[in-house]
Symmetry: C2
Subunit: 314 residues, 2 copies
């Protein structure tokens, strides 16, 4: 099942069910994805029973599947990314047995084709391609094995980052505020079964193709997460209930063979340049730059659709 | 103007206007505080014009004024608190010219009289008495001088903390997730003018009386913030728009003469014990413990009402 949200002037938009070829849609009986997630067990069968897609999906104003969420928690589950970033920031590797996770701003997710505004080009504007999941209500103390059943939808995310602000904020120990403005989402939120065997052990085992200004930048695979999404959900729920509609991210998709497959963020490429050449050679994004992100399966199908955005002055 | 939210079965409750003596109320023409903040310039005059308070306020099920918010950002604006905490955690003082701030969970604020559930008594359950503000929509890049006008309401908050988890999370640089479950709010959100001259330079210049299990624990004053709330709002808005209803906190109220006035959290008292006696003597909270918090003015009036909560097993 693929779900999308069309802009209709309201803050949460209008939920639609999208045909498996991504070309047509039907209005969901429940107006918003938030509302659907709050009563998922009742709504999902209704959606599954829909077989007519009367409207062509072409040119509509598409929002993020969740245009806003009550909570957004982002992990950093790819070890090769974390190691590179620590090396570049001159930090010791972060020693922790539990997943790394920060609380991010959730009151807005950009749609897949929205321009993304920043106040200043010198802040180190960077993209971060990642995957995420959306859960129904998860009670405090839910264990990882049980958390898997709470994962109702999978999404593809661009976690915008301002690198010039990230290091100083990280060093305070308080985490990121200014360095992490709102993220973007690809058009389709999909049920895990849509991924078939590419959904394994709580991981999205697809290549995430990233292009910057039209040039291929990376196609890292989502499988090598150090913790699966069910473990990230359980981590998040250790001391709090998670409300339905909570979004949990993987962190930047990254593979140990990054020199072959490329990266999902500029910072990582710069890290490799520091290691290989002593200093970073690649600059961050400028106003007018574009980034495209699209996870593809072995058949070349893009289950989440495509993120295609331009960075603009805010 | 004093506002409160009564529980009515809905997630955001029912907004009411409370008489200046806190004894009676009237239903607001707009149902929720979130909705009121989204159209504050139109709604505030309507509320101000209301002079009849037909209902006695006694025994109702009172929620937090904002039972949930789209964003909660908490500062740490009291230098004496930060210095003590670094000393206790064995960390160097945090060097930063800008305000310290973390993104917290916002999908729930406990009401002032709610039991507060935690999974485990060994996690270092602690209260943190603080003040906060609620803004209308603040555009990205708003400067501190302009941010003052966006502060529509002032609140009193208990920022629940799990200290056993706080240090390790802080050391990752990712900030707090497990260590910061949902906060609580005192019953009344008030316009700054309700504070009269106790609202100065973006600060709530009142003593915050804190009692633990019925015993006086502290009465630090809110004036010595290193950054005023308008500066915290501007900091938060540097790289993002703030939606109406964003809540921004001061961090634990703390004064340099903490040995005289006491503290607003247990960790700080333990820090003083470490300095004075070589080790902490005071334990954290146990299930069944209570905490009361009430800011009072020179006339003994409590403009925010009182937080009175019990810690229970989740």
């Amino acid at each position: 099942m693929r779900l999308a949200t069309l802009r209709d002037g309201s803050k949460d938009g209008r939920l639609v069910l999208v045909s498996s070829d991504g070309l047509r849609y039907a209005f969901s009986p429940v107006a918003t994805l938030q509302a659907a997630l709050e009563q998922w067990d009742a709504v999902a069968p209704e959606l599954l029973a829909m077989v007519q897609f009367p409207e062509p999906l072409a040119g509509q104003d598409i929002a993020a599947p969740m245009p806003r969420a009550w909570q957004w928690l982002d992990g950093s589950a790819f070890q090769s990314h974390g190691d590179l970033m620590c090396q570049v920031l001159g930090m010791d590797p972060i020693e922790t047995a539990v997943p790394l996770m920060y609380q991010g701003v959730s009151d807005k997710f950009y749609g897949p084709l929205d321009d993304v505004k920043f106040p200043d080009e010198t802040l180190g504007i960077d993209f971060e391609g990642e995957f995420g999941v959306i859960v129904d209500a998860v009670p405090m103390g839910t264990k990882a094995a049980d958390a898997m059943d709470h994962i109702k939808l999978v999404v593809q995310i661009n976690d915008w980052s301002l690198r010039a602000l990230a290091g100083p904020e990280m060093k305070t120990g308080f985490g990121w505020v200014q360095a992490k403005p709102p993220c973007s989402m690809a058009p389709f939120a999909i049920t895990p079964d849509e991924l078939g065997t590419d959904w394994r052990n709580g991981r999205v085992c697809l290549n995430l193709n990233v292009a910057w200004n039209g040039e291929h930048f990376g196609s890292a695979n989502g499988e090598p997460m150090g913790h699966g999404f069910h473990e990230l959900v359980a981590h998040a729920a250790r001391t709090r209930d998670l409300v339905a509609g909570t979004v949990i991210g993987s962190g930047t998709v990254s593979n140990a063979n990054f020199r072959e497959v490329g990266s999902s963020c500029i910072a990582e490429r710069r890290g490799i340049e520091v290691i290989d050449q002593g200093e970073p050679k690649t600059n961050f994004m400028k106003f007018g730059d574009t980034v495209h992100m699209e996870a593809v399966d072995a058949d070349g199908r893009a289950p989440f659709g495509k993120i295609a955005q331009e960075v603009v002055r805010g």
